[in-house]
């Protein structure tokens, strides 16, 4: 288990490789919690906001001389703070995620946490608010929130296959669900339907280990889930492969179809491929998606 700090550090490195992400401000009014529609305050932005008189602590170099020369006082030029959006995240913390087929590969949980946090950092950098679904960690902005998110992502859940948390969805926010989606699909379906009802759109990222995709087993085998709650014995694992792969494909198709219906975007990521490509996909999906 990585510590929260180490996780954040790797995630920062991951995030540093992409330009800051500005999620599309789609439903502007609905997402602003405090009613600050318009963001009429000074901040990080390109557009001119206002001149204000020089105050103690301001550097002399920040004085706008052109404006100050027109009057007796000294003035400082300020820019408008641009609008931010809320993004809510659900990360699967179930035991099934804590699996890696080989020593050289990260566990699915590791990879999912890294991707989620990297995406969160990008979003926070772009001025967005990021939080968790449910009531534990509402969307906020700032570096402090990233640390809180990192902490939240490093708690392990004991159940074998976790169900998505669909409560506390802000209307018209963006959402990000990251899991292996091996559990029962009914709760996922319910969560997505609920989200669609509230105008929440987002991305569904399925993280799978390469062995789950290939099923490279032979001979007499007893398969056990990571939490040991489930076991299955077979005498000829090779014979199972076809049927297993068919079921997996069916599950993927079902997820994809669900996304299509609710206006979400679906992608499947394997832990033996680069995290960067997955992050790029999330970035594209959050920034330039249809939602």
């Amino acid at each position: 288990m990585k510590s929260a700090l180490a996780l954040r550090q790797t995630a920062e490195e991951e995030a540093a490789r992409l330009p800051a992400l500005l999620a599309r401000a789609e439903k502007l009014a609905g997402t602003v919690l405090l009613g600050e529609h318009g963001r009429r305050r000074a901040g990080l932005g390109d557009d001119f906001w206002q001149y204000r008189p020089l105050q103690q602590g301001d550097s002399l170099r920040s004085i706008d001389w052109r404006r100050s020369a027109r009057s007796d006082g000294q003035f400082v030029r300020e820019h408008e703070w641009q609008i931010a959006q809320s993004v809510i995240v659900w990360l699967d913390q179930g035991a099934s995620m804590r699996f890696a087929s080989s020593k050289d590969l990260p566990t699915k949980a590791d990879r999912a946490r890294l991707l989620t946090l990297a995406a969160s950092i990008l979003l926070v950098r772009g001025g967005e608010r990021v939080g968790l679904t449910g009531w534990t960690l509402p969307p906020r902005r700032g570096n402090e929130q990233i640390l809180r998110l990192a902490e939240a992502f490093t708690t392990d859940s004991t159940e074998d296959y976790a169900e998505p948390e669909a409560r506390g969805m802000l209307p018209h926010a963006r959402a990000m669900f990251i899991s292996d989606f091996l559990a029962d699909l009914a709760p996922v379906e319910a969560a997505l339907t609920k989200a669609a009802d509230r105008g929440v759109r987002g991305v569904l990222l399925q993280v799978l280990d390469p062995t789950e995709e290939a099923f490279p087993f032979h001979g007499r085998t007893i398969f056990e889930s990571v939490g040991k709650s489930m076991a299955h014995e077979t005498l000829k694992a090779d014979d199972m492969r076809g049927r297993y792969l068919a079921r997996l494909a069916e599950r993927k198709a079902r997820l994809e179809q669900l996304c299509r219906v609710t206006g979400w975007q679906y992608n499947c990521h394997h832990t033996n491929t680069s995290a960067q490509s997955a992050l790029l996909w999330v970035y594209r999906a959050m920034d330039g998606g249809h939602g």
Binding site: L182, F215, E233, T234, D238
Partner: protein
């Protein structure tokens, strides 16, 4: 013992156990492997699936095969297999046995092995009560059949001879062979000879013939030749084989007179070649000391060659009375001498007194009449020590009074005034020709061409001792060549000129032969029998068959004609023969010697000297079985997926095996830490700070550089790796673009070697940022503790003149546009290399044209590292200023760091005037 080819079994019935293997195969196939437990989250998708058939996977066929082979190996091993078991029945018989040895030089190389073979044979013959006779073909005697034990006691005394059996010897043996039946055991030396076939037939008429031959390759060396200033050596071998390299050693005497190895040269036989050649370049002095060349590791006379005078090029000094440079070349007194001597002597040219210390073998004075007293005395001493003075007459000598009244010490005879001329336009008589050489003359035996005539000569006074001194005369009895011995040396006078003016002698081949006989020059080739007619040569050193030199003792002298032409034998042993003035070598192998392997008829049994060893195989087979069972264990584990836990153990075992096989590789890696340092420092751009010894300060400097590296990483295309601390005494500096050197009063002053390294670093484009960290209390001009320490530290450094950083310095615009350079403190005193005094400010330009180098030092006291320092989370470590303006100052400090690194890495790129318009635009002017 049951035999299958070369394989025998002590318990062959056990092999029937092999028939049980197919049954075992069926049994093993039926047993299924144990189930494997695997973690697999996808198990949820498997729920409810049923196996199609209730038969488990069988063990894979290759694993079964492995087990079968292991069991088969055990069964075969228990049956007691033996490779090459001794067959007692061979070479048996009851007839008398004759052991016939070629006993030539070619069998000397492995004589000991032959002796052992004979000994074994004698033992067996003794057991069978067979009478044995032993005959050497090189020295045949009548075969006497005696008890084997008698011969065994005499065996050590039977040795090979250094020559090859000749037709006469073979014929003699055939004449003394008894008529009764006997078997023959022929130890052949492997060389083909014409006489073999007849002898073989004669022997086969009397009984069975078995031939023993050594499979070893036989090496022989031809006499060393002199070619193009080098010694050419050519080697041969009997049988073509793979590429082989042998060494040839030149043995001789060292300057102290002790035997020593003077040179060693490898000779490579190309694959399938039977000859190998090389050239050995030796200085003349060393070459003259070589007494023998031998093939290293070959104890045979054929692998030794003795060089005679042919390698010893004599040093001959040529001095003429009148060096008429403008005359015709053919009239030069030295022309014919030079042409005659050049091919096989080293010629010296110069003044007599300069030449004498070089101690030449021969000095030739062509028509030199008088010598100065000093010259005469030195020459006399030289002649007495063995030098040879060869004088030629000429007009000057004839006109001078030298040796007129009394005999000159350096002349063999007294001369009459004027000399004589015969056969010319103003004289009577015919030109004179040469008389035949007398037997006492060194020229005895040389043919005199009829066209050699003499038209003029100097005349010897008829003194009582004249007759002894004449070595050649004309047909009217007047002396032509006279000789006198002085001490160990001699003086020889040719009564004619050295050119064709007085006689036709220098034009003839006789002239060259006479010079050779006088040992003025050495013969380049082996002499013909005719050349040596009438000479007697005394053996000095002779070789035995093993190639060892033996003192010739009282061996009789050999006639020259025999020496040149006869094959080697008991009367003409290989060795070095001394003639009157030179030595001649007879070597076993010459360039005409043919080395060809014998082609025995098919009916003859040919055996090698070494027979294959009897090898029991049971142990090897059992080891193989165990190895296969081990492999089975690993393979079974791998199949059932249980190898994962065992992997570290297998890796450890493999590593141990590897380590035991290659112990040196592990040792070699011990001294690689400096390489690791270099690789770490150069893999990426790396900032470095000087280790001051103050742990707190060093940590802060490191954290500062970490902060600067992070800043660079996020803001620029410079992506430094982790900064490093540098020990000035031990670490290489050249890897680092920038050294941050915080100054503290307690740090030690670097050593001279470290300063040398620092100066090299500064001259080759490195930059040191000195930080006195006291800008809060000291500004430039006021002396502080750190400032004084800085002066002390920097005094031995090669630092150019400095100036406070000017407003148009390139540091102000390498990345960010900066006007001041704060760290934790914000003092303006930052010093850089002074701009050249001729730097001009061009009208309309914001800065001067300063295309100079990167400044080698930046000196300031703003404690930059403290401002840059950040921990792993990016939090600043040291406070800077107060509130927002403090953060602003820290930001500017970072920008200064970025500018500094950019300046080091890009030099004066931004000072280039090309960028002026863009910079003007950004400056808003």
């Amino acid at each position: 013992m049951t035999l299958f080819g070369a394989l025998g079994f002590s318990a062959p019935w056990l092999l029937l156990g092999l028939f049980a293997l197919p049954i075992l195969w069926l049994i093993l196939r039926a047993v299924p492997p144990a189930p494997i437990r695997r973690l697999f989250p996808g198990v949820i998708l498997l729920r409810g699936l049923k196996d199609d058939e209730q038969v488990s996977d069988r063990t894979p066929w290759w694993l079964l095969l492995l087990r079968m082979l292991a069991v088969a190996a055990v069964i075969v091993a228990l049956a007691g297999p033996v490779l090459n078991p001794r067959n007692e029945s061979e070479a048996a018989g009851t007839a008398p046995l004759m052991v016939l040895m070629d006993a030539s030089w070619a069998s000397a190389a492995d004589w000991r092995a032959r002796q052992e073979a004979i000994e074994a044979l004698l033992t067996r013959a003794g057991r069978d009560n067979r009478p044995v006779a032993m005959v050497r073909l090189t020295d045949p005697e009548e075969p006497r059949f005696q008890a084997a034990d008698v011969w065994r006691s005499r065996l050590p005394g039977i040795l090979p001879e250094p020559w090859e059996p000749q037709a006469a010897q073979t014929a003699r043996l055939m004449s003394v062979l008894p008529d009764s039946a006997f078997d023959t055991y022929w130890l052949s030396d492997g060389l083909a000879r014409d006489t073999r076939a007849g002898l073989l037939e004669a022997l086969e008429n009397r009984g069975r013939v078995t031939v023993f031959e050594s499979p070893r390759s036989l090496y022989a060396i031809e006499p060393a030749r002199f070619s193009d200033g080098n010694v050419a050596l050519s080697l041969r071998r009997l049988r073509p084989g793979p590429e082989t390299e042998v060494s040839v050693v030149a043995q001789g005497l060292d300057p102290a007179g002790n035997p020593a190895t003077l040179a060693r040269v490898p000779v490579t036989f190309a694959a399938d070649a039977v000859t190998g050649e090389t050239e050995l370049s030796l200085p003349a002095e060393l070459r003259a000391r070589v007494t023998r060349f031998e093939v290293e590791g070959q104890r045979s006379a054929g692998a030794v060659t003795l060089p005679d005078d042919s390698l010893r090029r004599r040093e001959v000094a040529l001095i003429a009375g009148n060096e008429n440079r403008e005359g015709l070349e053919l009239l030069s007194p030295l022309y014919y001498l030079t042409r005659a001597l050049e091919p096989n002597a080293d010629l010296l040219d110069g003044v007599l007194l300069d030449i004498l210390p070089a101690n030449p073998d021969v000095i030739i004075l062509a028509d030199v009449a008088t010598l100065g007293p000093a010259e005469e005395q030195a020459t006399m001493e030289w002649v007495e020590k063995g030098g040879m003075l060869l004088r030629f007459a000429g007009p000057r000598l004839a006109a001078s009074d030298v040796s007129r009244d009394s005999e000159d010490p350096l002349m063999p005879v007294r001369l009459r005034a004027g000399g004589r001329t015969v056969g010319g336009a103003m004289s009577w008589g015919e030109p004179k020709s040469l008389a035949a050489f007398s037997p006492e003359s060194p020229f005895f035996g040389l043919d005199i061409p009829p066209d050699v005539t003499v038209t003029a000569q100097v005349m010897a006074q008829p003194d009582p001792n004249l007759a002894d001194r004449v070595v050649a005369q004309l047909d009217d009895g007047t002396p032509l060549v006279t000789r006198k011995r002085i001490g160990q040396g001699q003086v020889v006078l040719f009564h004619v000129t050295a050119n064709a003016e007085w006689s036709a002698l220098p034009l003839s081949g006789l002239f060259v032969q006479m010079l050779e006989r006088l040992a003025v020059s050495s013969t380049p080739t082996q002499p013909e029998a005719a050349d040596l007619e009438g000479t007697v040569w005394q053996p000095e050193v002779v070789l035995d068959a093993f190639g060892s030199p033996r003192d010739a003792g009282n061996l009789p002298g050999v006639d020259g004609a025999l020496l040149a032409g006869d094959p080697l034998g008991p009367d003409l042993r290989p060795g070095l023969y001394q003639g009157e003035d030179r030595s001649l070598a007879r070597n076993v192998v010459t360039s005409e010697t043919e080395l060809t392997a014998v082609n025995w008829p098919d009916r003859i049994v040919v055996e090698g000297l070494s027979r294959p060893q009897e090898t029991p195989l049971a142990g090897w087979l059992l080891a193989l079985a165990i190895a296969m069972l081990l492999a089975d264990v690993i393979a079974s584990l791998a199949l059932s997926g249980r190898l994962r836990g065992a992997r570290p153990a297998t890796a450890l075992i493999a590593a141990l095996m590897f380590a035991s096989l290659y112990p040196h590789t592990l040792q070699a890696q011990g001294s690689a830490s400096s390489d690791a340092f270099a690789i770490a420092a150069t893999a990426e751009v790396t900032l470095a700070h000087v280790i001051t010894g103050d742990a707190q300060l060093d940590d802060l400097a490191h954290a500062g550089l970490v902060g600067l590296s992070e800043t660079l990483f996020f803001r620029t295309s410079v992506e430094p790796s982790d900064p490093m601390g540098v020990n000035l005494e031990t670490d290489e500096l050249a890897f680092f673009p920038l050294l941050y050197w915080p100054v503290t009063p307690s740090q030690p002053t670097p050593s001279d070697a470290a300063y040398a390294k620092l100066n090299t670093y500064l001259r080759s484009g490195g930059m040191i940022l000195f930080d006195t960290r006291d800008a809060d209390v000291a500004s430039f001009g006021t002396s502080s503790v750190n400032g004084r320490k800085l002066q002390q530290l920097a005094a031995p450094l090669d630092i150019p003149p400095l100036e406070p950083i000017p407003a148009d310095h390139v540091l102000t615009r390498t990345f960010y546009l900066l006007q001041d350079f704060p760290g934790r403190y914000d003092a303006r005193d930052v010093w850089v290399e002074a701009a050249p005094p001729d730097a001009e400010l061009i009208d309309g330009m914001p800065f001067r044209n300063l295309n100079d180098n990167v400044t080698p030092v930046v000196i300031g006291g703003n404690d930059w590292a403290a401002a840059w320092a950040m921990d792993e989370r990016g939090n600043p470590l040291a406070p800077v200023g107060r509130g927002f303006s403090g953060e602003r100052q820290r930001e500017i400090a970072y920008r200064f760091g970025v500018n500094l690194v950019m300046h080091v890495l890009t030099g004066n790129y931004k000072s280039d005037q090309v960028h002026v318009p863009a910079l003007l635009d950004r400056l808003g002017q």
